[in-house]
């Protein structure tokens, strides 16, 4: 099993090139602190620098979110049709099924060839797994999960057309 | 005779059965439970006599019947403790069983005349009370350990409470009952501590045998042990005095005597039972029962003797100014039990028990006689309204006279012999011990007062001219009254024969039966004999000239004083129209009439000390205890509303709080565990 390197080795790696014996005693957290400091200081520095050198011309089109671009309309908190989620969920189910099927398929021949496992041991569990998923799919189908539901206005316009 | 003892439990069981029967079926029984009571006490008497005979034949009985709990003792001495119910029948308890059951039997018979014939209501309750009283006392008498004795001692106290308050619809009876209960309970409180102390010290509460606390205490003193930070003898004295608290309360010794005169509010038959054989006798009997323990402590004995002598005189002086016939008898009881304590306190074990026996007979006689007088007088108790009953009620008169002569200590009535022996024992010890001498002197002076008040009572009641209508036309009394009186009258006259010690010593004849009896000539439990106690006693005795001379001096002195007291009473009151002579007492009169303000100071103690203390305790309870309880609940509810506020209902807050809580835990544990 993969293992992280022990602490001590890690610190020597970071401190490659330094011969001072004290450095190896340095606390690991200093490095993390430094990283955080640098990570924060780069964006802050950029903002400060741009603030210092840019000209300031307060004007309506300059203050728009997307200068010279799309004109924003409304908020992002709008309702999506539930059907998107239904389809996404079903997709995830089959996605996972596939993820499990691939490695199984890879070892299937070897398993059959080995004397320890027969057809039942190699094929049975996967059939059971797929069967359970099939039951789920069948249930979803029967209860109308894949039917494209209509909003009230759509339904109303449908009747109008007829 | 060995088989006899297996029936010992029946002695106490009979009255208990009578109690149950009277309580449940009394209402429908012809004599409202009296028959059951008489049958039960007769049975107890017969069995007690059988036990007496068995002991006389040389057997004793000491058996544990039931162990109700046992455990590892954390005592100073001994390991493991058992609490049991057991029976100890030795010469002392066998004798006491007979006395108690005899008196109880006679009281039951007398009650037929005193209660049934007078048409009292609530009789089943009365007979149930008597039955339970007799049961408790009998079980107390043959208890083989201190704890069992304590339990029945308490039961005796409860029964006296019930019976003193029998006429609970009056104002005075319930109050007297409460007083009796509270005062004796105060003493019993010390008794209880004493029992616990003895159990905790010696890991045993048995009276007899090698594993008794007496034997353990003796060993501890001999080994020079230190018990609870005291040397063994001091500790024995302390525990002995604690137990003595119960004794003083029950036996109405100074300063716990105040309940007894008030207890006259109960039926006279109950007074007879309380004074002669049960309640009051229980205290002195307990001292006799654990005499070996007190014998180890000269200090405790001296205190017993002094308190006894003082009480004898103190109560006798109060008796001389009372007008109520029962009050006089009440104070005489206190005084006589003072003598018994004096006798036991000077090491006169035989003398004390002897007087206990004689007193049981003559005091029962006097109370029943007084009961008869009260019947004759249509329930009038004031002696100044009596007079001239001598001719109209000869049986009552002569038996009462016998009792009075015994009480006053006139030779040859039983009281003389026992009282004389007590005083003699006190004298010979007192010659070397000034404290005992003082006690003796008080006891001796009390003889004079005893003679005086006794005969004042006799003359006012029976002699002279009738001073009221009731006295002129007395109510007749029946056989149920006369039979007990005659029986006890004979006993009051002859019971002294049991131990004619002075005669024996002067004439050199061996007629001290009781001494032999208590010394285990016939049969005894080892260690519980007079001579065994004698070895433990530290008293030196002295004589005036020779032993015979000392006996004669002692007897002569007490007789002289008794006669002079009686004679003074004869001179003052044996006249056709006696008048009160109290004013001659001068300034002392008020003090004595008010019983030396004993009640007043006890009431003052209760009002001035106990009441403020309990008020303060109540205030503490109300404010500090209740306050903290209420405070806690208020704080809890306040805390609750605060905790409740954490739950805002906004899920983002929850997530934030969860993360914050998790980080708090992480920081705490991380720092604690040195993860960083």
């Amino acid at each position: 099993m993969a293992r992280l390197r022990p602490k001590n080795e890690q610190s020597t790696l970071i401190c490659v090139g330094y011969e001072s014996p004290n450095v190896t005693e340095m606390n690991d957290w200093i490095a993390i602190g430094m990283l955080a400091l640098v990570g924060l200081s780069i964006p802050l520095g950029m903002m400060v620098v741009s603030y210092l050198i840019r000209p300031s011309v307060p004007e309506t089109s300059k203050r728009a979110t997307y200068e010279s671009g799309e004109i924003p309309t409304g908020g992002t908190r709008i309702r999506f049709n539930i059907q998107y989620y239904m389809v996404a969920l079903l997709f995830v189910v089959f996605d996972i099924e596939t993820v499990l099927l691939f490695p199984w398929a890879v070892v299937y021949q070897d398993a059959l060839a080995s004397p320890e496992y027969g057809l039942l041991e190699a094929l049975g569990p996967m059939l059971l797994f797929v069967a359970i998923l099939m039951i789920g799919l069948a249930w979803a189908w029967r209860t109308g999960a894949v039917q494209w539901a209509q909003t009230r206005t759509q339904a109303a316009s449908d009747t109008d057309r007829q | 005779m060995e088989g006899a003892f297996s029936y010992a439990p029946a002695i106490a069981a009979f009255p208990l059965a009578a109690f149950v029967v009277a309580l449940t079926f009394g209402k429908w029984m012809p004599r409202k439970g009296a028959i059951a009571g008489i049958a039960a006490t007769a049975g107890s008497l017969l069995f007690s006599l059988w036990m007496l005979a068995a002991v006389a034949s040389g057997e004793v009985y000491h058996e544990t019947l039931y162990e109700w709990t046992a455990g590892e003792a954390a005592g100073e001495v001994g390991d493991g403790i058992e609490f049991t119910f057991g029976i100890l029948i030795d010469p002392l308890s066998a004798l006491m069983l007979v006395i108690v059951s005899l008196v109880a039997f006679l009281v039951h018979i007398f009650s037929l005349g005193y209660m049934n014939a007078e048409g009292e209501t609530g009789l089943p309750r009365y007979y149930a009370g008597l039955g339970l009283f007799t049961f408790s006392m009998l079980a107390f008498v043959y208890a083989d350990n201190l704890l069992m004795a304590f339990m029945f001692f308490e039961l005796v106290g409860l029964c006296s409470y019930l019976l003193i308050g029998f006429w609970f619809r009056t104002r005075s009876a319930p109050s007297a009952a409460k007083k009796a209960f509270l005062v004796t309970r105060f003493g019993d409180y010390f008794f209880l501590i004493g029992v616990v102390a003895i159990a905790a010290t010696f890991g045993t509460v048995a009276f007899a045998g090698d594993d008794s606390f007496v034997a353990a205490a003796e060993t501890a003193i001999a080994d020079g042990d230190t018990l609870f930070g005291f040397d063994a003898q001091t500790w024995v004295t302390i525990t002995g005095l604690l137990v003595l608290g119960g004794v003083l309360g029950k036996s109405a010794q100074f300063p716990f005597h105040t309940w007894l005169p008030d207890a006259m509010e109960g039926p006279t038959t109950v007074s007879a039972l309380i004074h002669a054989a049960t309640m009051v006798a229980a205290g002195v009997y307990l001292v006799a029962r654990m005499f070996g323990y007190y014998a180890l402590s000269p200090t405790a004995l001296a205190i017993i003797a002094f308190v006894g002598g003082f009480t004898a005189l103190f109560a006798a002086t109060m008796g001389v100014v009372k007008d109520d016939i029962k009050q006089v008898l009440a104070y005489s009881t206190i005084s006589q039990y003072g003598y018994m304590m004096l006798g036991l306190g000077v090491g006169g074990y035989v003398a004390g028990v002897f007087h206990l026996m004689n007193h049981a007979f003559f005091k029962a006689l006097l109370f029943l006689g007084a009961g008869a007088v009260i019947i004759l007088m249509h329930h009038e108790q004031d002696m100044w309204k009596m007079g001239g009953l001598k001719e109209k009620a000869p049986v009552t008169y002569y038996t009462f006279l016998a009792g009075a002569l015994a009480l006053a200590g006139i030779i040859p009535f039983s009281g003389f012999w026992s009282k004389d022996e007590i005083l003699y024992d006190a004298l010979i010890v007192g010659l070397n011990e000034p404290v005992i001498m003082a006690a003796y002197a008080m006891g001796l002076v009390a003889v004079f007062f005893t003679g005086f008040y006794t005969f004042r009572m006799v003359f006012l009641t029976f002699h002279g001219e009738p001073r009221s209508e009731a006295a002129e036309d007395p109510h007749p009394v029946g056989w149920a009254v006369k039979v007990p009186l005659l029986t006890l009258g004979v006993l009051a006259l002859v019971a002294g024969v049991a131990n004619l010690a002075p005669v024996a010593k002067i004439l050199g004849v061996d007629i001290v039966f009781l001494e032999h009896w208590l010394d285990g000539e016939y049969g005894a439990v080892e260690g519980l004999t007079y001579s065994a106690y004698g070895e433990l006693l530290a008293y030196e005795t002295g004589v005036i000239g020779s032993e015979q001379l000392t006996i004669l001096v002692a007897a002569g002195l007490s007789l002289l004083l008794a006669f002079s007291g009686a004679g003074l009473a004869w001179k003052l009151y044996n006249v056709p129209e006696p008048v009160a002579h109290k004013e001659r007492l001068g300034s002392a009169r008020r003090t004595i009439e008010n019983n030396y303000y004993q009640d007043e100071y006890q009431v003052w103690l209760a009002r001035g000390f106990t009441l403020p203390l309990s008020r303060a305790a109540d205030r503490f309870d109300q404010t500090v205890i209740d306050g903290s309880v209420n405070g806690i609940s208020t704080a809890s509810l306040f805390g609750s509303s605060w905790v409740k506020r954490l739950q805002t209902g906004i899920v983002t807050n929850y997530a934030a709080l969860i993360v914050a809580g998790f980080i708090a835990l992480l920081v705490f544990l991380g720092v604690y565990g040195g993860w960083f």
Binding site: M1, A2, R3, L4, P6, K7, N8, I132, I135, G136, A138, W139, W141, R142, T143 | S633, S636, L637, G639, S640, S641, V643, K644, L646, Q647, G649, V651, Y654, A655, L657, I658, V659, A660, G661, F662, L665, L666, F668, L669, G670, Y672, G673, G674, W675, F676
Partner: protein, 512 residues
């Protein structure tokens, strides 16, 4: 009783039976969607739960899990040690099956007129499957999968009253907090794996014992703490308890009972198993993470019982009060882990297991009474419950039994389990004096809890009804479940001997 002749995987039968029942319900619903054949649906679910119960009892009687030296069959491992069926697993499978059966029977009446009946039952049974698997899971992966299998249907169940805003809101809150907790838990698993290189509990213990994890003390400690977070969510312990009051209040009452009894018990079984199997106390372990991990549980136990009981004290809504009381009881059960020590703790852990069993009856019963009240439509607050005993004396008597048992009043079952917990805590204080504080907190909180439990009894039995009510219905299923729960709460006293034995045996085996 020849259990051992069956294949090894059949040892998981109690969970498999539940899984099969759930699938059967799904199949039925696929064939006949939106069925309202309540008898068939509830009957199938109840049958599955009872079959699972019967098999689990049979196994435990036949000696599965009893060490072979004692004449038992030993613990049975399934799927290369991914699952282990021992006494503790069977004990908790029994609890789960009992609660599931009670809930299903009670739901028969509760669900009258509701949509999604088949889904409801199949989700209940599916969640029960997850809980049953949690009882036997022996590796961090199977633990996580089982935990999610139990959690996901629970989210749906809480929100199953789709037209009820409270129910939907509760479901969403439960789901969000659940997702957060799962994330923390999963991160914890990854850290433990990083530090030790193993997911299987006994292998983790071996690595720690061999000293191979020594360089990663802080990493492992953080991982363990995150695992604790996951368990705390499942058992509704502070600070992961925030979902509980809202979810219990909004959920259908039988589901509240199910979550607060069975789900909590399942959370505790993995807690017990992980900490006794993977991180057994000892000098090695203490040196590794710097302290004795019972410290964390001592803190959690005290804080959880205090927060739960204090918050319950002033609630006006009965269901919410019960929700907080269930948090308080999680605190009591945590004593079972807090009192462990390197060479002991069977008594205190056994006591916690007993408490969870008794709690399964009394708490489920209490929530079912609330379900009954919702069924009657009498309202939700204490005042609304005033004087209900006039119309429904039997149910109210049962409720009084539940309340007094929850408060720990003798002679009900709750007293004995609490008493054992207290004794166990005192015994554990010999090794760890902080347990005295836990014992004290137990006593103080029990005293406080009596206040609000008896308030409800007072409302039911003493107060005058605020409004006049019509005659109340007597739904058979709900009544039956409540009465059974009450009878068991009382009868568990004479029958306590076997329960004590079973719990102690299981604890000894788990610690051994």
């Amino acid at each position: 009783m020849a259990v051992f002749q069956l294949a090894e995987w059949t040892a998981m039968a109690p969970a498999l039976i539940l899984a099969g029942t759930a699938l059967a319900l799904f199949v039925f619903d696929s064939i006949s969607p939106h069925s309202t054949n309540r008898s068939l649906l509830a009957g199938t679910a109840a049958g599955g739960a009872l079959a699972s119960l019967a098999v689990a009892v049979w196994f435990i009687v036949a000696g599965v899990g009893t060490p072979t030296v004692d004449g038992g069959l030993g613990e049975i491992t399934v799927l290369s040690d991914q699952f282990v069926v021992d006494q503790m697993a069977l004990y908790f499978m029994i609890i789960v099956a009992i609660v599931t059966a009670l809930i299903v029977v009670a739901s028969y009446d509760y669900l009258v007129g509701h949509a999604y009946q088949a889904e409801y039952y199949s989700l209940v049974v599916l969640a029960a499957t997850g809980m049953s698997m949690m009882a036997a899971a022996n590796s961090l992966v199977t633990i996580f999968i089982a935990l999610e299998l139990a959690s996901l249907p629970s989210y749906a169940l809480v929100a199953i009253l789709k037209d009820n805003r409270g129910s939907v809101e509760a479901g969403l809150k439960y789901f969000l907090i659940g997702a957060l907790s799962s994330a923390i838990f999963l991160y914890g698993i990854s850290l433990v794996y990083g530090a030790t290189g193993h997911l299987q509990l006994d292998n983790i213990a071996e690595v720690i014992a061999a000293g191979d994890a020594d360089p990663y003390g802080g990493l492992l400690g953080l991982g363990i703490l995150m695992l604790i977070g996951g368990f705390a969510f499942k058992t509704a312990s502070v600070p992961f308890h925030f979902w509980a009051p809202d979810a219990y209040e909004g959920a259908p009452a039988p589901i509240s009972g199910f979550l607060s009894s069975a789900s909590k018990a399942a959370g505790f079984v993995i807690l017990f198993r992980v900490f006794t199997e993977a991180f057994p106390l000892g000098d090695q372990m203490n040196a590794l993470i710097g302290f004795d991990w019972t410290v964390a549980f001592i803190i959690l136990a005290i804080v959880t019982m205090t927060v739960g009981n204090f918050a319950a004290a002033t609630q006006n809504n009965v269901k919410r009060m019960l929700a907080y009381s269930s948090i308080g009881h999680a605190g009591y059960a945590l004593i079972g882990v807090a009192g462990l020590s390197a060479d002991g703790g069977e008594l205190v852990m056994g006591a916690a297991m007993m408490h969870l069993l008794v709690y399964g009856f009394m708490n489920t019963g209490a929530f079912l009474f609330v379900a009954l009240a919702e069924h009657w439509g009498v309202g939700r607050t204490f005042e609304d419950y005033n004087g209900l005993s006039r119309q429904a004396p039997i149910a109210c008597a049962a409720m009084a039994v539940f309340m007094f048992s929850l408060a720990g009043i003798p002679p009900f079952g709750g007293f004995f389990s609490k008493f054992f917990l207290f004794m166990g805590a005192l015994e554990a204080s010999a090794a760890n004096t902080a347990m005295l504080a836990v014992a004290a907190a137990l006593v103080v909180n029990s005293a406080l809890s009596l206040y609000y439990y008896s308030r409800l009894v007072k409302a039911l039995w003493i107060e005058e009804p605020a409004t006049t009510r019509d005659r109340l219905a007597r739904p058979t299923g709900l009544y039956a479940a409540i009465v059974v729960a009450a009878v068991m709460t009382v009868l568990i006293l004479p029958g306590f001997g076997p329960v004590v034995d079973a719990a102690l045996d299981a604890a000894v085996a788990a610690l051994g």
